[in-house]
Symmetry: none
Subunit: 339 residues, 3 copies
Amino acid sequence: MSGPQERQAASTLQLCRLMRPDDSNLAGNVHGGIILKMIEEAGCIIGTRHCNVQNGDRCLAALVRVEKTEFLSPMFIGEVAHVTAEITFTSKHSLEVQVKVIGENVLTGAKKLASKAALWYVPCSLKNVEKIMEVPPIKYASAEQEEEGRKRYEAQKMERMETKARIEEAVAPPANPEQHTVGFSQSSLIHLVGPSDCTLHDYVHGGATMKLMDEVAGIVAARHCNTNIVTASVDAINFHRKIKKGCVLTVTGRLTFISNKSMEIEVMVDASSMVEAEMRKYRAVTAFFTYISLDKDNKPLPVPSLKIESEDEQRRFDEGKARYLQNKAKRLSNNQGQQ
Amino acid sequence: MSGPQERQAASTLQLCRLMRPDDSNLAGNVHGGIILKMIEEAGCIIGTRHCNVQNGDRCLAALVRVEKTEFLSPMFIGEVAHVTAEITFTSKHSLEVQVKVIGENVLTGAKKLASKAALWYVPCSLKNVEKIMEVPPIKYASAEQEEEGRKRYEAQKMERMETKARIEEAVAPPANPEQHTVGFSQSSLIHLVGPSDCTLHDYVHGGATMKLMDEVAGIVAARHCNTNIVTASVDAINFHRKIKKGCVLTVTGRLTFISNKSMEIEVMVDASSMVEAEMRKYRAVTAFFTYISLDKDNKPLPVPSLKIESEDEQRRFDEGKARYLQNKAKRLSNNQGQQ
Amino acid sequence: MSGPQERQAASTLQLCRLMRPDDSNLAGNVHGGIILKMIEEAGCIIGTRHCNVQNGDRCLAALVRVEKTEFLSPMFIGEVAHVTAEITFTSKHSLEVQVKVIGENVLTGAKKLASKAALWYVPCSLKNVEKIMEVPPIKYASAEQEEEGRKRYEAQKMERMETKARIEEAVAPPANPEQHTVGFSQSSLIHLVGPSDCTLHDYVHGGATMKLMDEVAGIVAARHCNTNIVTASVDAINFHRKIKKGCVLTVTGRLTFISNKSMEIEVMVDASSMVEAEMRKYRAVTAFFTYISLDKDNKPLPVPSLKIESEDEQRRFDEGKARYLQNKAKRLSNNQGQQ
């Protein structure tokens, strides 16, 4: 392989995988968490590869943020997911990877855009995981392209600063909660971090965490409406703190807001070491998942409304509604912008 | 294959598998739950095969009870587990399978008995899972052997009658529990039953349930003593009700009793359907797991004592102590009997 | 996408995946079975896609043969495997896929050819798995290319005819076999075919079978020489009969031949239904795996010689030796041909 061509090849990455029964729910819909995990694997590979083309410590790309991700069309068992990743911006210490997931039905040949995502990584030295390495710059097709990338970079930087993890304790639900209350569908899982969840420096892959988060959010949504439910979107996720092998993760999901046809679920990930003396639990990640309820023909169904029982629940509902309206407005203006 | 030889072959079964990183904890010890799962897989295959040698509906062997199981020596990553299963008794509608697990270090050639277990199955028709089929009789080597099997059968039958599942609600732990209390280490996980957890008729394999139970018990034990912990034994488990694909399992573990060098953890499995209207949660399985804490040389360590905070906790502690003393007495008398 | 470009895109496929701890042995070497499984997944996707570009029944590409496959350089945890598949020949009812696996160390940027393989598929209708569909022809770059493909096609067809599966029973090893005999290292595993092993029409993926075969062969090899062992090559494998979901597979491996630095292990896969009345066991696949023993620096070690104990073992040893000498001669002539 010649030099320049090699560079070209290094800046994009293709990954594909057949969707299996274990990747999907009873109705055959592939879990959003499976797609998020593939997206992150692609991002991690291309990011790590890029940051190691230079001399100096070997390093791994660690996920620090995923931008709002939408699931545009459902995927099913037996389809092939094609994941394409590309590095689209580099700052001194971070890089942006844009990822596209195409679902292919190999029987009919039909293809559809299943999801698009943008992820931010920072390179951590393998010798000392706290040491952030420098990112080699990429070449842009145009000055305009670089300028747009810089805007995205500044925007996400500001947001990451603002959203310091709210370490609000997830309150245990009441003993016999009434149906359609927040307490009724609130769910928690614990997961012992194993070797397969981890990178080479024994920290959890962001994708593994997102898969668990989607699993809990899906159970919350199904408990609320007792129907086939699918992930519609995930709000931007910031990964505040790394999670080490051997930790126990407690992943809790609760309903925050409900519109006519969607549910917003807040998912919190708390990590604690089982063996270290201090044993302090810390909030590692928080995110908002939006789910929709589907009938047998994959058409959206109305969602039962949420019975609010406390001031905190009302506050979170109002905040969720604000996010919902903001997203709706953004979607409308984007659509107009494209016309 | 000639008739008699085939019969011979069908009544025992050999299974072996390499222990992988994901099968074990950070210290390299294979999880007891992994071994329980292999034991049950062997039992299910040999039981199902035996019950289908006759005419009539095709059927699957469903696990109804596992006798007390001890883990005699730890297994490690890279070792090969050899599981041997044999049908040792048949009643009209149930059969007993005895299983032995040998751990082999393929590098040194060393072998050790890792575990022994006895499981009871009933054959359920594939057409109608509520229909229990008849079990073809086996031939015994001697009248004495048959008689001993009958005694084990009567004993377990009586115990199964007695232990109707106590559907006592697992109380949520207090908000800021003090270390070494029951509330501090109490843990719950939820698990959405997927296709790989299930048999051909879409009910959960007993082994899959036991693996989850061991996972929770291990987290409780590690939270209590912050050391490397391993499963020492599991009391008899009765599987009162079947669990269907698509259910959500809530598996909760809490400390009941602590001796000098062991912890007893009660694990409860509650199942609830996500899609069926009624949504009733039911207690599917309960069991007591005993864990020990190990130092770096795999020697048992003393366990921090348990701070009792309520009358219920004291009652459970006393009940656990009674079980502990009873098991100790039984072990002593067995050892004397063998001499 | 426009027509011609789409055709172009459809005839090759890229798949990549990060190698994880569970993919490898204790020394960090990725199991040959993992690589074979990825190769087959790529072949199945591209084959199925190609056969469905035409009208008529939807169909799946079923693996019928894998040509001799060599593992040219070892892969390790943390590396990325890039699998590229291309359809290189089509007959009326079958197609050949050539697959290349490149291992990439994303930290150093180093790339190496890990393996090359050629697989033969036939398209089976989804409506009736016994119905073999027609394969749409591909366009060849040159008449010469087509001619070479036809030669490979004729050669494998003849071989498939010849090697009717010898259903010679794998004899149980003696009770206390002496070290370095065939009986000492002979190993069996049984596996209950689950949903994740299967294709859309509920038959086992060839790749899933090959992974199990490699697992058994690896245990045989490790038992014989008690060192770190890796797959060096696999002789051509013919898949005589399909294996259905719910079957029990018995996979047995035994040493046949040993050269200075390699072991040949015969692996037999027998399938039997647990529930169907007839219960006949049948030999589904047979293959020869060659393993080598490595020291800590991944240099080949001498292999302990094999103690032959019966005429059958001697016959198999001689046959193995003939295969070994033939392969060696072929390799030599190929190398000369390339110079």
